[in-house]
Symmetry: C2
Subunit: 491 residues, 2 copies
Amino acid sequence: MSKDFSTREENFSQWYNDLVIKADLAENSAVRGCMVIKPYGFSIWEKMQAALDKMFKDSGHSNAYFPLFIPKSFFNKEAAHVEGFAKECAVVTHYRLKKSPDGKDIIVDEDAKLEEELIIRPTSETIIWNTYKGWIQSYRDLPILVNQWANVVRWEMRPRLFLRTAEFLWQEGHTAHATEKEATEEALKILDIYADFAENWLALPVLKGFKTPGERFAGALETYCIEALMQDGKALQAGTSHFLGQNFAKAFDVKFMNKENKQEFVWATSWGVSTRLMGALVMAHSDDKGLVIPPKLAPIQVIIIPIYKTDEEFALVSEKIIQIKKSLEKRGIAVKFDSRDTQKPGFKFAEAEFRGIPVRLAVGPRDVSNGTVEVVRRDTLEKSIYQQTDLENKITNLLDNIQQNMYEKALSFRENNTYKTDSYEDFKKILDEKGGFISAHWDGTSETEEKIKEETKATIRCIPVNNESEEGKCIYSGKPSSQRVVFARAY
Amino acid sequence: MSKDFSTREENFSQWYNDLVIKADLAENSAVRGCMVIKPYGFSIWEKMQAALDKMFKDSGHSNAYFPLFIPKSFFNKEAAHVEGFAKECAVVTHYRLKKSPDGKDIIVDEDAKLEEELIIRPTSETIIWNTYKGWIQSYRDLPILVNQWANVVRWEMRPRLFLRTAEFLWQEGHTAHATEKEATEEALKILDIYADFAENWLALPVLKGFKTPGERFAGALETYCIEALMQDGKALQAGTSHFLGQNFAKAFDVKFMNKENKQEFVWATSWGVSTRLMGALVMAHSDDKGLVIPPKLAPIQVIIIPIYKTDEEFALVSEKIIQIKKSLEKRGIAVKFDSRDTQKPGFKFAEAEFRGIPVRLAVGPRDVSNGTVEVVRRDTLEKSIYQQTDLENKITNLLDNIQQNMYEKALSFRENNTYKTDSYEDFKKILDEKGGFISAHWDGTSETEEKIKEETKATIRCIPVNNESEEGKCIYSGKPSSQRVVFARAY
């Protein structure tokens, strides 16, 4: 643990990087662009996985596993997809190494060149739809509701821990349906699951919307997304769900016999969230004292620190702490008793704070005799003295309260940083001075979207679902517009 | 579902392959040597993962994640390791594709050649020890008890679903310790966990032992293993735990300050089990009617099939089934009500049997009026009529009983197929006629081990832990031997 790290004010980007590394979430590896997710960081990711996995299964999805490798030719089968994904890829060309002639080194064995290169999956639509061809003959085989948890690789020129790494972990759902309607409903159902997960687990309010054609997933007819706002006023795309139409079915010739005994192409969706959410978690909630983790995702929810001078006092205090720990654990709370004798309480307090543990308890000899316990909540750093009576209920309520408070704080931050403007000058000024989401009129053309992006680095994050229609004029071209869209600079 | 598959007697290998494919566990993919693990197969693997993961965590281990890629030079750092692993590997040489000059194809962009090739991890000792160097300074940083769930790639010339695939899923534990004693204890603790898991979850009796130097993991000072016997009399290595000494610490210069303030190299273990266990599960228990899955790993433990002629009967029967389902689910049993109206009961029975569902219930109108239910257990195919009263307890007991019975059946199979011989002629005859484990004297030399392997294809599976010492003569060389070792032909 270390506190010598930047503040958000000084340098948000440095603050983020310092925090991720020093709070033991992740670090850069010896392989450029690839990270090591450390045990503390991984345990948060595991909690995210468990929550999402349950939501997927409760809505009828199953997990499966498809190959890491994709034959190069597969990328060429779907025209839009190849443009988007067959570029910055890791390419496997050989399958053997051998000793160098002098015996000192190992070199690639040129005799072991693959006939066709294999690409490390950047996403799995192609290999999965090639597989689905064998699984689908009739409408009875549909729907297929499959998800996989996997690693994927997209070569990144400017990697950043969690936010943009060459290898990252994610889940990718790939579903197959008999009708367009069903596929669209599936894509929207997943969007709701993602939003629910972001709000109720990450304590992160999100805008649900759909992307403009220019921002769509390569191969999708519609990309739905959830967009969150970080503390520096930049947006972060936290999850996407794609309606793929029949594009991949056509590319891989996947047809089914419908109820009317006619051959038809299958309808598809795909959807994913990734370890990027770890970055969102940090940038949305943490502060200049360290991580702030929502209780539902905290590997340790309560840490108990003993205050003592003598061995006798330690024995006395420990007994009480173990009793408290047990009563909290019975309620399903993850508790750690920080019994190390190598560190002083002050160090332990700062460490617990830095690592974002939602609730910190301290118990000293006087607490034992008074029947009290000192309680500090991480989100507000507020200190209280609780009576030990009924402590498990009080702590359960406090954890709920912290989860809720973190959400509300993030929500009011977003509300305070969402602007509406009808002037391009004002638009640019907001972007430069404040950041945030900007709701503005747009003429609906890719040209205008591109121009605004070139001039301001702001992109259209989404067109909100259930957007209100409103007559207006495009802030850039002055042409008529029938609705506002949401702009921001983004990660 | 399909029953047109080989019997074990006719062709064990074909039976295995047919079963894996037709029971929807896995299939070959478009990429040679890589499999697709289908939802049904994957749900069994998930149950294995959950059980093992809990055992690891309960014994103090945490999960983390390390990069998929390993710089080629890392392999050269540990002499024995390079021999074992830097051969049949997938090699990444480029990081970009581009359009071919005619615009019709995509090709590897030769401008995007990596300075140093990256190897897809065949195992992660090198990248992990390179990382641990940054994590370890003092004895206070030890032990490190880390595991990762990951995919690995070892190019296979003769792939077989689950048993030998180019890409497979596994867990790999990598621990770092201050003393040799602690590392050895860790390796043995994991061996016990593996044996416990094999016996209590897979219902698979295993021999615990250690490998001869010739069969050790490349880079290990000692390889402990669990060895199981398949129904065709061949052995299968079901898990390994390695004591790595200070080999990787020396290769990556990982030292720590010990309590006496002296720099010392760190001691290491690594250990893993893989999707190979899925193959073991099939080959140990299944029969000519299909899969037989131990209840603790069965995604569906009880299937309920309605027997009816009219819609009224269906309504009547369904009501009772839903009631039974709920009462079983309350007890934590995974139940499926097979309510499809597109299939007849006979088909459903055969399908449930084929997919290895431990318990099948059938409920017809007469059962409703009599308060009965027809029960068939998959392991013995025994049929009974149960009174509905207290059914949840009866079924819970039946599932326990099936789990236990499967273990005992596998154990008596192993006992009936374990031989002791002092004659090489007899040894060869047993191998050819019966297979199984053969306990025989060996002179302790690699030369003899190699000769026996060349002549009979049998290998020394292990030297059992707590082996009895017994004076004898090597079956091959006639030289003196002080203990028997266990031979078998193996997967």
